[in-house]
Symmetry: C2
Subunit: 212 residues, 2 copies
DNA sequence: ATTCACTTACTTACTAGTCAGTAAGTGTGT
DNA sequence: ACACACTTACTGACTAGTAAGTAAGTGAAT
């Protein structure tokens, strides 16, 4: 995987030589947004390129022109979503330390107003564990990265230095957030995501502190 | 639920009038097992009836004869899996009270040796949040039932009577178990499911007791 | 003049579901 | 005990739909 050279840059239609045209970037973005919609609503397997294309105002061959293949589109979409998320943080500042934990809770709160995004994430991560799924590596890498990051921050915040304990706690926290999303999607009124995540995080930090 | 009357009673091929033939039950079971395999490995959408049929030693039309449609097969498979799980408990005794919590932890432990089952559950529950997915109701009902049951047991065990608190705790516990499965499937060595679930449950009960 | 961003027009590959037919039962009446 | 009427459990062939990918071409911008 992975280059997509210069992050989301065009290239797929054979090797590109000239500069892309002016409107190209926004057309590609329209396709990526449509993909988020379609794959989010139907999953990758059942999501059809024609529908993505339609929503972006072109034919499915046009989409293929930009991203080379359905799999290429998926990977580009996943990266695009990450970039968007990062860009959403004020001044693009990377959040560090305690603020990161607050950021996680804030994100959960925001997510209750962005059903589509949550659905896309849940469906795709579920699908990603199937044999040879194109998003498998993405989710594996992403989860591991998040785990390490959260473990680090939990260590800072609690003063606890037990590495395994910190990793387990991070894993646990991620599991709660992901697991809650599915339950929430199945029945939004039955699950108060922000409250539960906030709770869990407080408990976790408290315990790590006590054991430090 | 669950008639399971004569275990997985046939019917789909129009309304059945005569008794099913002798070998029928085991043939149907072979199909269900194959479905667990195939849908587990590829998901419902990508899983093909021909492959299910092949693994069960018949043609895909034969599968359709028994279950009427692909969707019918899915639903039957889900019910079959539930029945199997219940049957796995010694003497079919329904586990109640504190023992149920232990049973949950035991199941998690067992699951580390049954990757296929875990994968099937994770993939299907992820898929189930997509629009109009045939397993949507199944997972919704199942989750709600589990939530209520766990909340009840937690109440018994901790003496806590705060209904919302108990429900949130149950939701949280389910989220951890489900979320861990995905992480574990993505990277089995990175996640010690039984340890983390055991931990979480102890913490939960302890806290509910303290707040009682 | 050439390249980019597409479209139109297919092709190839599957896949769920239908249908007609067949061999092997099942149950009843005699 | 046996034949008759009927059912079940399939198979094989086919249909109709869908979906990804390809090839050739067209107009606009550089």
């Amino acid at each position: 995987m992975v280059d997509t050279t210069r992050a989301g840059a065009p290239k797929p239609a054979a090797e590109r030589v000239q500069r892309p045209q002016a409107r190209t970037t926004e057309r590609r973005e329209a396709v990526l947004k449509a993909a988020l919609n379609v794959f989010g609503a139907r999953g990758y397997n059942k999501g059809a390129l024609v529908e993505v294309a339609e929503q972006a105002g072109m034919t499915h061959a046009g989409v293929l022109h930009h991203f080379g293949s359905k799999e290429g589109l998926l990977v580009a979409m996943l990266k695009y979503r990450d970039g968007e998320e990062v860009a959403g943080i004020p001044e693009r500042a990377q959040v560090e330390g305690p603020a990161f934990l607050q950021h996680l809770v804030d994100t959960v709160e925001e997510n209750t107003h962005r059903r589509g995004v949550v659905q896309a994430y849940s469906v795709l991560s579920g699908e990603s564990v199937t044999d040879g799924h194109p998003a498998h590596d993405y989710f594996q890498t992403r989860t591991e990265g998040l785990r390490t990051k959260i473990a680090g921050v939990l260590g800072e915040v609690s003063g606890n230095t037990d590495a395994q304990e910190l990793r387990d706690s991070a894993t646990s926290l991620i599991a709660i957030m992901d697991g809650l999303q599915v339950q929430w999607l199945l029945d939004p009124d039955a699950v108060d995501m922000p409250r539960i995540v906030g709770r869990a995080m407080d408990e976790l930090v408290e315990r790590l502190r006590a054991e430090a």
